[in-house]
Symmetry: C2
Subunit: 220 residues, 2 copies
Amino acid sequence: MSDSFAVTKTNRVRQLKDKADYDTDTVHSILDAGIVAHVAFVQDGEPVVVPMIYGREGNTIYLHGARKARVIRLLEQTDRACMNVTLLDGIVYARSVFNSSMNYRSVTVFGAPILVEGSAAKLEAMRHISEHTMPGRWDEVRESHEKEVKMTGVITLEIESASAKISAGLPDDEAEDYDIPIWAGVLPVTTTVGTKIDDDRLLPDVAASEIVLAMQDRTL
Amino acid sequence: MSDSFAVTKTNRVRQLKDKADYDTDTVHSILDAGIVAHVAFVQDGEPVVVPMIYGREGNTIYLHGARKARVIRLLEQTDRACMNVTLLDGIVYARSVFNSSMNYRSVTVFGAPILVEGSAAKLEAMRHISEHTMPGRWDEVRESHEKEVKMTGVITLEIESASAKISAGLPDDEAEDYDIPIWAGVLPVTTTVGTKIDDDRLLPDVAASEIVLAMQDRTL
């Protein structure tokens, strides 16, 4: 049996409770499927949300940005961040507006952001982010320059609390609405990686490697 | 010439400034292309971010949820929300990790959420949200029951401040890195609406309408 995140006031799903899932494997699998996270924090008492790429190892999320970027400086200063990753899977056409909805996989994570110090620790975090978004690429490219590591701000977000919410399947209409002579169903929404576009400054005889080719036609 | 949002401390893009765009038309066009927004607000001093669908009319954003949902109650109580819509367009494989990045269209909006009262105003807002996610569907389905309108909480978010950030094109490597014999380029990422899946309780002789068929193969 897989572990679960404890259900607390913070992460308890209140609406559509039957779609809630606190299972660690479910939370991790949605995080692993996504590429863009939305990270929220409080600045001067006001909410800010920023899209970021990320990496994950166990219950640790890695985030990065320019060392001087507002998002990094603020995540460094605050002791609380909330992060959501949502993958849209479909538009659900019910027989009423009320029952129309979306199919999706969504995870919300709460934790305390910590600035990573030290070149080795930063590189390890950067590797996780790189491997999450471009699997296998880390070992293909040149090593990072020390200056580049210095210019990068890296944040870890330990998952203190998390919940997943998954909605899938066909419309759920009112009993009497099934008599309405109207089409209902789902329009699936898919996010896919397409065919590579070569840089216009490629050296002669340079081809895309297996790890690049393997990303093509990947579905998130 | 199109209008722009005033650049203030709140919405000023500080990183990769050349990608920033405050043009009203640009902001609107990205909002119109997206389906899922991430809405952040402060609850008991802590950040929360929630994925929501939305509608737009001019500089007004419409959001909705169950009337009793936490997100609606909290948006009702707070005078500040931040919303981001990001569309991922590509993974940019540069010749270093440092210069690798994403292509995207992103908009961040700041405003004061207000609960919409009154059946007619709520219905009008709900129509905007429905038309944004399922164009043309509003007039096909049965009218909303008064009870359904009562059970729905509707929020308007007037755009007080906004910025767009667009990243597109090929990698931008260090001059000396172009001599590294490695492939570089972009893997495009596309989100598309696919072929309809019929509900398993369709009445005989009921076909999908033009507005449903027109959504198929739409790219966000």
